[in-house]
């Protein structure tokens, strides 16, 4: 019980090692080990969330070393929520991946599982840790594993996308590390709570200012905030679907979490909004990101790539909400971490099912898909409606808070961008629906009026995709509960 915070992260790490070793004996062993590891991790994350809701923040000292010397895991409501989100999605995705991994990675399934687990370990660690340098190390673990994964994907485009990702990713990491260096110079500490305590006394310092800006830039590059997004679309499009399904919903969202963590816990909202005068600029940047992401998505002819640009657009939602400078905006941003993760996951699950059957994801090849893959499309439609922001899907409710926050702060440009992006997303998705609904099957001679054979993806993939799509509605209807029992207490 006491060690649960560490076990959330350590279990997938051990599982990664075991899965790698087991593959020497028998290839097929690595999958159950990976599955077991993530199932346990999800279980621990759930327990920890319940514990935090019940009895408050958990401070866990790695190997018993006391902070600020030792590494501390600080689990409060926010990261308990994100931990459950990350482990849950990683676990579900692993179930959905089983049928397709071999085919997608050219029979390197064992290495896929090992890297996958390491990637998830990194994400979980980033979320759990309360130490600035440890955070850097873990970000690098997630990044390095992502580079490898992207390179495992599309034979022609994967390596180049990966290389591009490496270059920009390294720049981002360096910025962050440099920022932490500045902070260390000034405070002599790396523990978040400790740094926060020291910083509250030296708010005017320009070293701290530089440290803050460098950290933010680094994180923004890692989360692909426009115009620092250029690595993301190709990297996510050309990686194996089994990996893009988990990296697309989680990577950027965890980075948004890190940004909020730095803002709320380390630097303090008071410092950011009252001493620095960057909030307006950040909200403008977010506004531009939303519009640019939407417009670029309009130009895409490949469904997966279109979705990656929607991620760029959604990043703008969360950055804008977090920098709005009021509780409503921050609530919207945090709620959107959960919601966007769920809906992006649902969309990519549907994409995975399509790729599994069609071997392609170019828009013109999706003709007649409503008849051919009705269940997949049902999940896809639900997730798409959530992105557009139709109630009662969860996307509507985070947009609701973000809009209220924007009105309260008088940021009408941001509110307008949210509305416009909803409209753009409506156009984007109905364009896809039209292709799937009106045009007859590619290659076949069936017409819309004939009977179309149902050729669905395997049941395991369908169940996961159905569950996640339903959760979009359930989470939407219970967003009041999430806000009242998790987000608002955290922000107090």
């Amino acid at each position: 019980m006491d060690n649960y915070p560490a076990l959330i992260v350590v279990t997938p790490l051990l599982a990664a090692l075991l899965a790698g070793l087991a593959a020497w004996i028998e290839d097929r062993l690595s999958y159950p080990i990976a599955l077991m590891g993530l199932a346990l991790s999800t279980f621990f994350a759930f327990k920890v969330l319940m514990q935090v809701i019940g009895s408050g923040t958990i401070h866990y000292r790695m190997a018993g070393w006391a902070p600020p010397m030792g590494i501390e895991y600080t689990i409060d409501l926010l990261n308990a929520l994100v931990l459950l989100l990350v482990s849950g999605i990683a676990f579900l995705n692993l179930i959905a991946s089983y049928p397709s991994v071999n085919q997608e990675t050219n029979d390197r399934a064992a290495s896929f599982y090992t890297i996958y687990l390491l990637f998830v370990t990194g994400l979980l660690g980033v979320t759990a840790t309360g130490d600035l340098f440890n955070l850097y190390v873990l970000i690098e673990i997630t990044s390095l594993t992502s580079y490898a994964m992207v390179a495992l994907g599309d034979r022609d485009r994967g390596p180049i996308a990966s290389l591009n990702y490496v270059f920009i990713g390294v720049i981002g990491a360096s910025f962050y590390l440099l920022g932490v260096g500045y902070l260390y110079l000034k405070t002599g500490s790396l523990n978040m709570a400790d740094v926060a305590h020291i910083l509250s006394g030296i708010q005017g310092s320009s070293t701290v200012l530089v440290g803050f800006i460098l950290c933010m830039l680094g994180i923004w590059i890692k989360m692909a905030l426009f115009p620092m997004h250029v690595w993301l679309p190709n990297a996510y499009t050309y990686s194996p679907v089994a990996f893009s399904r988990v990296v697309a919903p989680l990577m950027t969202k965890v980075m948004v979490y890190v940004m909020i963590r730095l803002m709320v816990t380390v630097f303090g909202l008071d410092y950011i909004f009252n001493t620095l005068h960057l909030a307006d600029a950040a909200v403008w940047l977010a506004t531009i990101a939303i519009l640019a992401g939407g417009v670029m998505a309009l130009a895409q002819k490949n469904l997966k790539k279109m979705l990656t640009y929607i991620i760029v657009c959604e990043i703008g939602y969360m950055v804008g909400g977090a920098w709005m400078g009021n509780q409503l905006g921050m609530t919207g941003a945090i709620l959107h971490i959960v919601n966007d993760a769920l809906m992006t996951f649902a969309l990519f699950l549907a994409v995975g099912n399509m790729v599994y059957k069609l071997k392609t994801i170019d828009l013109p090849d999706l003709k007649g898909l409503f008849g051919k893959m009705p269940w997949t499309m049902a999940g896809f439609v639900l997730a798409a409606l959530s992105i557009i922001g139709v109630p009662p899907t969860c996307g509507f409710f985070s947009k609701w808070y973000l809009l209220l926050g924007a009105l309260e702060a008088g940021a009408y440009h941001f509110a307008a961008a949210l509305i416009i992006s909803s409209l753009i997303c409506a156009i984007l998705f109905f364009k896809v629906f039209e292709i799937c609904f009106f045009e007859s099957l590619a290659g076949g001679h069936e017409t819309a009026h004939g009977v179309v054979e149902i050729e669905e993806a395997p049941v395991s993939m369908l169940i996961v995709s159905g569950l996640v799509s339903l959760s979009i509605i359930v989470v939407g209807l219970y967003s009041g509960t999430i806000v009242n029992s998790i987000i608002l207490p955290f922000l107090k």
Binding site: L385, I388, G389, V390, P391, P392, F397, W400, Y401, L403, L404, L407, E408, A415, I419, S422, L423, A426, F430, E434, F437, F438, A448, H449, L477, Y478, S479, G480, V483
Partner: protein, 492 residues
């Protein structure tokens, strides 16, 4: 106001939703499928009627499902207005279901299971909108209805329906996201509530220009009401199979639009505030323009369903016109027109469909002499036309009578002229069809051969007889609807 908590409104909404899986699973057995529709439709109507006595006593039935934020919940509140609309929609759903059988099987349409399933979803959303306790819930069901109707409008899956579907979405979804959503969020931002109350939710937060802009955003934003210039989706939507045009585009969908505007006028702004700012005249002017222009356009339409569509656009504005009079008689005449117009117009659409099934004719110019072959259909058409023109012995007379009294009561004599001129125009575009039908020379038969009666199948003819009879019955017994409006709007 005495309130009773009950799950009945929820059940009434859900019953046609829960029947959808049953419909899908019995897709190979049309008779079983159709029986399930009747069972669900009947249960729905019985549930609604079982709440009627309580409502007539002046009580309200409430049920809160999900609290999203303080003052914004997903909740039902059944009052007189909602009850009236729900009775009309649910009873006509059953009649339309009979008609659908005749029409869809008569034309051997494809995708009938999809058709009935989305139809059931649409009617669920309609009842949900009728019972909504606040603007958020209303918006939720409004959006669900928009999306549920899209596959019905585009049922034929050909190039024409694709274009019409696009227009439908751009107008309906574009206005609800682009205008209603920001207006709603603004209301919540200013007042902290979205609950419908007779006094309105605003105390003194609005200036006159602000109130005007907000009001216009709502009036144009609920584009299902077909206020010009956001009306063109309705004629375009006539490509749908006639049961859709009949129930959805003469009753359910369009009247959800009108109903939403009525709710916003009476429940969000409140009659008092509208009167103080003199906004009733603004809305009345907009409605008058639509009434007259749409009637004129209707005159020029040769395709029967398009003429009916323009007539609907014009008649919908009667309702808004009446409510905007802000006088008791005007409110009564406007709201009761929801019911009166519903029965008249659905009869007309049923007739148009029956003519198409029996003869394949869509254009008025081809219908000369047809009344001798289809006497029942044309007699019903005559009654429906009387109802829409507002002549005795049909219910339409009652609403027009009250509307005219309302203009006198509100001392808006000029606007009375609008009603009178429009009635003339209505007579001009409907009565020649009937006259030529019975007495005109038929193009494809000479006068010597005796005329053989050749109606459409019984499933088509019986429903249109039923609605025509009810239309006459409402002239003699409008009492229930009148009482519902009086308790609903607290007028004597």
């Amino acid at each position: 106001m005495e309130t009773i908590v009950s799950v009945k409104p929820l059940l009434a909404v859900l019953v046609t939703l829960f029947v959808i899986p049953v419909l899908v699973s019995s897709s190979g057995k049309p008779n079983a499928r159709e029986s399930w529709i009747f069972i669900a439709g009947t249960i729905k109507l019985v549930l609604i009627l079982s709440m009627l006595p309580v409502i007539l006593e002046g009580k309200q039935i409430v049920l809160t499902l999900f609290e999203i934020a303080p003052g914004a919940s997903i909740a039902f509140r059944v009052d007189g207005l909602g009850m009236l609309f729900a009775i009309v929609a649910a009873s006509l759903y059953i009649v339309t279901s009979i008609y659908s059988i005749g029409y869809m099987r008569g034309l051997n349409e494809h995708g009938q299971t999809r058709f009935v399933s989305f139809f059931a979803l649409a009617i669920s959303a309609t009842i949900g909108a009728a019972f909504s306790a606040n603007l958020l819930t209303l918006y939720l069901f409004y959006e669900i209805l928009s999306l549920a109707t899209y596959p019905l409008v585009t049922h034929h899956q050909d190039a024409t329906s694709k274009i019409s579907g696009r227009r439908y979405l751009i107008f309906i979804l574009g206005t609800s996201i682009g205008l209603v959503l920001p207006a709603m969020i603004y209301c919540y931002h200013v007042t902290g509530t979205l609950e419908f109350t007779t006094a309105g939710i605003f105390a003194d937060q609005l200036s006159k220009p602000g109130a005007t802009v907000l009001l216009l955003m709502f009036v144009f934003g609920f584009a299902k009401a077909g206020i010009m210039p956001f009306h063109t989706w309705l004629p375009a939507a006539m490509v749908a199979p006639t049961p859709v045009s009949a129930l959805l585009h003469a009753v359910a969908v369009v009247k959800v639009g009108v109903f939403s505007i009525v709710r916003v006028l009476t429940g969000i702004f409140g009659v008092q505030l509208l009167g103080d700012f003199n906004l009733g005249v603004v809305v009345m002017t907009i409605a008058s323009v639509t009434i007259l222009l749409a009637s004129c356009i209707a005159l020029s339409q040769d395709e029967l369903k398009r003429r009916l569509a323009y007539s609907t656009i014009s008649q919908l504005s009667y309702i808004i016109f009446g409510v905007a009079l802000l006088s008791p008689q005007g409110l009564l005449g406007g709201v009761i027109h929801i019911a009166m117009h519903a029965f008249g117009k659905i009869t007309l659409f049923f007739c148009a469909g029956a003519i198409f099934v029996a003869t394949g004719k869509k254009y008025i110019s081809q219908m000369s002499g047809l009344g001798r072959r289809m006497p029942f259909t044309f007699a019903a058409f005559f009654i429906g036309a009387l109802g829409v023109i507002g002549l005795p012995p049909t219910g339409g007379f009652y609403s027009k009578w009250n509307l005219i009294l309302g203009t006198l009561e509100a001392q808006q004599t000029l606007f009375m002229l609008v009603l009178l001129v429009s009635s003339f125009l209505n007579a001009f575009y409907f009565l020649p069809i009937v006259y030529k039908g019975f007495f005109g020379k038929s193009p494809d038969e000479d006068d010597t051969t005796p005329v053989k009666i050749k109606e459409a199948n019984l499933c088509c003819v019986i429903p249109l007889m039923i609605t025509a009879v009810i239309s006459i019955g409402l002239f003699f017994y409008p009492t229930i609807f009148v009482n519902l409006i009086k308790v609903g709007l607290a007028i004597k």
